[in-house]
């Protein structure tokens, strides 16, 4: 398919998809609306991680912490304070981004695995405090039955709010992806030494990417509260962080939209395989191994390669 026609098709495809997603609630049963909402939230989360892992080449191994911070900030503001509700919705992402800045400042000095390990240790510290601070965060029970404003009550309304927020987030992420900043970031991923040599402040770019990514993780966290109306420390546990990373790899981490696909596959697999068997992680594990052996660039990466014209020919 020639590039020009693909450029024309893509917006049409996106609008059609959005249209389809807006009519879904009136067709499908309630359960599926809930599943779609979960997929959207997870998709934002996976996309936010991919900003640093796929495009930035950083070993962001504990992304779940920022998701959890976003969720907990909203939950705590709704249950412990009298502040207006929109303040909580704003505070979630900003707190997550602030945590991202602090943790990023410490980690950014290091490379690869050392970056990952310092982040895991800082993240685990946050997790451990949340897990144990019964008076403030509810400890390992978390906080349940959070009351939400009327505009968000009922899964139908929540669905539309989440869909809208996701659309906005994706547009913003795409803008960032295509911006000079995004291009520089990918250049740094591919060759940091050369980028540093031509005068790019490598660390600054990476730090900024982390702050942006953690902001979007906070958005996903806030939306998680909207869907589930509860928070618990597992949101910050390292298993979840690895799961998000798998979504990125599953979908294709060198593509823009791959993580959305990865998130959709993961959530559907957990839901539908979970209905038939309690051994769904076994299925996931086998699927992952097949993927590693046969589709190393992820599902989306594989599809893109199939439809993309070969560069060498042109």
């Amino acid at each position: 398919m020639p590039v020009a026609s693909r450029k024309r098709i893509l917006p049409v495809f996106n609008v059609l998809l959005l249209g389809l997603l807006t009519v879904i609630p009136s067709i499908l049963p309630l359960f599926y609306i809930y599943i779609f909402s979960v997929i959207f939230v997870t998709a934002i989360l996976a996309m936010s991680l991919n900003m640093v892992v796929g495009h930035g080449g950083l070993y962001q191994f504990h992304h779940g912490v920022f998701y959890g911070i976003g969720a907990y900030t909203l939950a705590l503001m709704l249950t412990k304070t009298e502040l207006p509700i929109w303040a909580g919705f704003l505070a979630g992402p900003f707190c997550a981004a602030f945590a991202g800045l602090i943790i990023g400042l410490f980690c950014i000095r290091l490379n690869r695995l050392y970056f990952a390990m310092l982040q895991i240790s800082l993240g685990s510290l946050v997790w451990a405090v949340t897990f144990r601070w019964y008076k403030f965060t509810g400890g390992d029970d978390g906080i349940h039955g959070i009351s939400l404003p009327d505009a968000l009550l009922g899964i139908h309304r929540a669905y539309y709010v989440i869909l809208a927020v996701m659309a906005v987030c994706l547009i913003l992420m795409y803008r960032i992806y295509k911006s000079p900043f995004g291009i520089t970031l990918r250049a740094i991923r591919d060759n940091p030494e050369r980028c540093a040599a031509i005068g790019i402040n490598v660390r600054m770019h990476q730090l900024f990417a982390i702050v942006l990514a953690t902001f979007f993780a906070g958005v996903a966290g806030v939306l998680f509260v909207v869907v589930e109306r509860s928070v618990f420390p597992d949101l910050m546990f390292w298993v979840l962080s690895l799961e998000i990373m798998i979504m990125c790899l599953l979908g294709g981490w060198f593509t823009f939209a791959g993580p959305i696909l990865g998130a959709a596959i993961m959530v559907s697999l957990r839901t539908f395989a979970g209905v038939y068997t309690e051994y769904w992680t076994l299925i996931l594990g086998v699927l992952l191994i097949l993927l590693i052996f046969f589709l190393p660039e992820g599902v989306m990466g594989y599809l893109m390669k199939k439809i993309q014209p070969r560069k060498a020919d042109s």
């Binding site: 895991i120 240790s121 594990g285 191994i289």
Partner: protein
């Protein structure tokens, strides 16, 4: 008055001794992890699952022998060997084909292995809590400096250093140990002089997993053996290996001691937040020495 003080001090001392004895289990597990990290350069996420399987195998072996004290000693030997066999199969069938691939893919593979092994444990042993009883000699407690300490913890205190020395002798005095250390430093050179690196990797992986299984068998009498024990140990083992210095066996020992002692300290002064203390210690160490306390092989 003075006698009270002496009792108090000995109680505190024994409290720390118990903490250090737990650190010995952490040491055995993280030494295995460190060995795999050093030679293969792969963070083996499935390590915790192998530890869990080791504990379950220990349970099965002791159950087969009924109340016979021999069962426990055999379990200490057989459970790690079974775990090693499991890891050998996984390594030769799947993992060994991936060594040339990107790092993140290797990590992903070990994660997939963790998912699969976790569910296999559920399939084979079920989700119930199980327990392993230590043999008569190690039950009950001894009075040490006028306050009691469980015998099993004293046993662990003795086992840890023995394993450390054995590992040291193995990696420094035997041919295969030296080859493994050389492969950790420069794998191209090792293959250039005609050593089959793939088998060295396989050996290192299996030995590391053997240690994970041994850790599981050792911990079994002190905890309830159940699903989910893999998740807790693996993150602790990773942090221990990092603060000690990747691939450094004595570093794993130092890291485990820091972990065990800070946790005991936390239990004494702020029990509710006891699990926070080791993490705090890890963060402080990594902020000061991001590459670990001792020299890493990377």
């Amino acid at each position: 008055m003075e006698a009270d003080q002496a009792v108090f001090l000995s109680a505190v001392g024994n409290h720390f001794l118990v903490g250090i004895s737990r650190a010995m289990i952490l040491f055995v597990v993280s030494a295995g992890l460190s060995f795999i990290l050093g030679v293969l350069r792969v963070p083996n996420v499935a390590h915790g699952s192998l530890y869990m399987i080791g504990a379950f195998f220990a349970h099965s072996v002791t159950t087969v022998f009924g109340g016979n004290p021999l069962g426990f000693w055999l379990a200490l030997l057989l459970a790690p060997l079974m775990v090693a066999a499991v890891s050998l199969v996984a390594e030769r069938a799947l993992f060994c084909h991936l060594y040339e691939r990107e790092h993140l893919m290797l990590l992903l593979f070990t994660f997939a292995l963790m998912l699969i092994l976790g569910d296999l444990v559920k399939l084979v042993w079920g989700a119930d809590y199980r327990s392993v009883t230590a043999p008569k000699i190690l039950q009950g407690s001894l009075t040490l400096f006028s306050s009691p300490i469980p015998k099993y913890n004293l046993f662990l205190l003795a086992v840890g250093p023995v394993i450390a020395v054995a590992l040291y002798l193995f990696s420094n005095k035997t041919r295969i140990g030296k080859i493994a250390r050389a492969a950790a430093l420069d794998r191209e050179m090792v293959s250039a002089i005609g050593i089959n690196v793939s088998w060295v990797f396989s050996f290192a992986f299996v030995l590391g997993c053997f240690l994970a299984g041994l850790g599981g068998a050792l911990v079994a009498p002190t905890v309830s053996v159940t699903l989910g024990m893999d998740h807790d140990i693996i993150i602790e083992a990773f942090l221990i290996v990092t603060i000690g210095g990747l691939g450094n066996m004595w570093g794993a020992m130092a890291g485990s001691l820091i972990f065990g002692i800070t946790q005991s300290f936390g239990v004494l002064i702020l029990p509710q937040f006891a699990i926070v203390f080791p993490y705090l210690a890890v963060v402080i160490v990594l902020l000061l020495k991001p590459k670990g306390l001792l020299k890493s092989v990377w």
